[in-house]
């Protein structure tokens, strides 16, 4: 099932929880709605589910407008953040509740319950009550209840956020695999960028009710359209430095506190045609800064070294600016040591400070 949100808005009084959202989700696609809390991602999901009525705009399932279709007729399965398992029912009764409401014969219910339970390996737990299950098992039960209806759209509201870190990582890959096997169009709400990036085919980043960017994880990471996306995606997060654009002798320079970077020709021409104000934000990810002791580049001082095992996260200070840099553990440096840093100019990002828009993308 293809899902299209067209100019979708949901207001609560004066609060614009979702503002003019446009999304096109392909059949069988797994997308994540990502953003900080209060960004409107859950509201969007509940509107797609039909639990909220949109204030403005349309929701299409394939070619059909479903604004007025009640939740039960939308062929959706949903997993809530709290799982919403009925505490007085056994796992079997919880899973088969949607079928019971449709008056499916008990034999059919039994067979289907076993089928979905096998998918997520909980066939041994059918006679337990939810209180007798671990968080991970409860989550699987909730997933079964959503899947037993054979929905055409699966809606997941932060389903992994109540699990411990190890289980979450395991469920991440399992859920991704399951979605690909069943190829159900899936919308996944999360505030965890790692979850969104690792699981989804495409990620819609939202902030304050407005869609910031909707693209695949690679594009999101390497070509963010706005300052917000650049800052939100990536861990450790991107280095952002306030700079201004200066020109001398036909060359372009970025000038910040204690840094001056000469821009390559193709970048500078694009910046010049795109930028409205001379105030820019220069962004570079920690892995695109190289540190050397051969006195090449900008002189700086090591502030702190955090070993991550595979690499070291080094905080470096040059004049008033501090930068995060990922270095190889073979580079032996310690605090207060003098080093020189170099930027990989192919990987830099430039944003308009006022609008937050990327100046390198068209």
């Amino acid at each position: 099932m293809k899902v299209i949100l067209k100019d979708l808005s949901k207001h609560f009084g004066n609060v614009k929880a979702v503002n003019n959202l446009n999304l096109e989700i392909n059949d069988g696609e797994f997308i994540a709605l990502l953003g900080p809390s209060g960004c409107g991602k859950t509201t969007t999901l509940l509107t797609v589910a039909g639990l909220y009525k949109p204030t403005r705009g349309y929701i299409y399932f394939n070619d059909r407008i479903v604004n007025e279709v009640s939740p039960k007729d939308r062929k959706i399965g949903m997993v809530f953040q709290s799982y919403a398992l009925y505490p007085h029912m056994t796992v079997f009764d919880n899973i088969t509740f949607p079928l019971k409401l449709k008056k499916t014969p008990r034999e059919d219910r039994k067979r289907k319950a076993l089928d979905v339970a096998r998918l997520v390996h909980i066939e041994g737990l059918l006679n337990r009550k939810p209180a007798q299950l671990s968080g991970g098992q409860q989550q699987r039960v909730a997933l079964c209840r959503a899947l037993i209806k054979e929905p055409e759209i699966l809606l997941l509201d932060e389903p992994l956020s109540n699990l411990d870190a190890k289980l979450r990582a395991a469920m991440r890959s399992e859920l991704k695999r399951l979605q690909k096997d069943l190829s159900i169009t899936t919308i996944f709400v999360t505030h965890d960028q790692v979850e969104a990036m690792t699981m989804a085919d495409r990620v819609a980043v939202m902030n304050e009710g407005v869609l910031q960017q909707f693209s695949n994880p690679d594009e999101l990471y390497n070509y963010p359209k706005s300052l917000f996306v650049a800052g939100f995606i990536g861990s450790p997060s991107i280095n952002l430095i306030d700079v201004s654009l200066a020109r001398s002798n036909g060359k372009f320079f970025l000038k910040g506190k204690g840094v001056q970077i000469e821009l390559p020709r193709e970048i500078s021409s694009r910046v010049e045609s795109n930028s409205l104000s001379p105030q820019l934000v220069f962004g570079i990810r920690p892995e695109h800064i190289t540190v050397n002791q051969k006195k090449e580049g900008i002189k700086a001082e090591v502030y702190v070294v955090e070993p991550l095992g595979r690499e070291n996260l080094v905080t470096i200070k040059t004049s008033d600016i501090s930068l995060k840099v990922l270095t190889s553990p073979t580079l032996k440096i310690g605090p207060e040591e003098k080093v020189w840093i170099d930027f990989n100019l192919d990987k830099i990002m430039l944003f308009d400070k006022e609008t937050g828009r990327s100046l390198l993308l068209r």
Partner: protein
């Protein structure tokens, strides 16, 4: 000495006024009832111990009214208890469906009986069902040219059941609506997505989650109806001709209307024993001990 005693047990000092009052007005009367129940005390307060004579009069049905009183009590409870619980559940569930203002209005209306003084409540019912053409319902019938109905002769028990049932509803409704309000919204949403109608959601999700409040209110009102006689006393006085006389009211009437203090006390002793047995049964069967331990809205 006194100072030392105070130092050791100051709580006794602070508790003593309450303990004295409760002893005087509750404990001593209960003991007295138990003593008087074995006497033949009459209106002149002449008495002598008669052993089990009062009780044998009760249990061997030498009092011809007893079967009738027992039947009345059972009919009254079997009518008023389901009316209270089902009525309160229905109102609580329905007020969920209407908008906030309407819900507040209806809940306020159904809570009114609790705010009205008992005597006023009793007289309202009495006047409404007054059997002459001046009664509220009869004057309505009269304005349509219909003949009057002798309500209290035709439906005495029904009137008494409804008068008490609406009082029960007011409290149970308050408890149920607040319990429903504390059910997480996700449960109701999940049911809605799974295709449950309002009644299916109520039956399969809400009511099972209200198990504890429903049990508390059932136990509460069962005890309350067994012991209640105030409203029946005010509305019908037990009449017409014992048609609405329940056990507790019969005890009252025997003692204070017919001045058979001894026999009246024995009737009340039976009621106390029934209460104790019922309480133990409820504690056992409802697992009330577990229920009292901590607040239980299972969600």
């Amino acid at each position: 000495m006194a100072k030392g005693w105070l130092k050791i047990r100051p709580h006794w000092f602070f508790l003593s006024p309450g303990v004295l009052l409760i002893s005087f007005f509750y404990f001593i009367p209960v003991v007295l009832v138990f003593v008087i129940a074995f006497t033949n005390m009459d209106q002149a307060f002449n008495w002598r111990f008669v052993g089990l004579a009062n009780f044998s009069r009760l249990f061997t049905l030498r009092d011809p009214l007893i079967p009738r009183i027992i039947k009345n009590t059972i009919v009254y409870i079997v009518g008023a208890l389901p009316l209270t619980i089902i009525g309160a559940l229905l109102i609580s569930l329905l007020t969920m469906r209407v908008n906030r203002t309407a819900s507040l209005f209806f809940r306020a209306v159904f809570f009114l009986p609790r705010l009205i003084p008992p005597v006023v409540w009793g007289f309202l019912w009495m006047w409404s069902f007054e059997g002459t053409r001046y009664g509220v319902f009869n004057s309505i019938l009269g304005s349509f040219g219909l003949p009057i109905i002798h309500w209290f002769i035709k439906f005495p028990m029904l009137i008494v059941i409804f008068a008490n049932g609406f009082l029960g509803i007011s409290l149970a409704m308050l408890i149920f609506t607040s319990a429903i309000a504390s059910i997480p919204r996700d449960y109701l949403w999940a049911a809605e997505i799974d295709g449950a109608s309002f009644w299916q959601t109520s039956r399969f999700v809400i009511i099972p989650l209200l198990r504890w409040p429903i049990m508390t209110m059932t136990a509460w009102h069962l005890m309350s109806f067994i012991n209640s006689y105030v409203y029946i006393f005010l509305i019908t006085g037990g009449g017409p001709y014992h048609a609405t006389e329940v056990w507790a009211l019969y005890g009252y009437n025997t003692a204070f209307k017919n001045y058979q203090y001894g026999y009246g006390s024995s009737i009340m002793v039976v009621l106390v024993v029934i209460n104790v047995l019922l309480l133990i049964t409820l504690l056992r069967s409802f697992g009330m001990k577990k229920m009292i331990e901590r607040s239980r809205i299972e969600a």
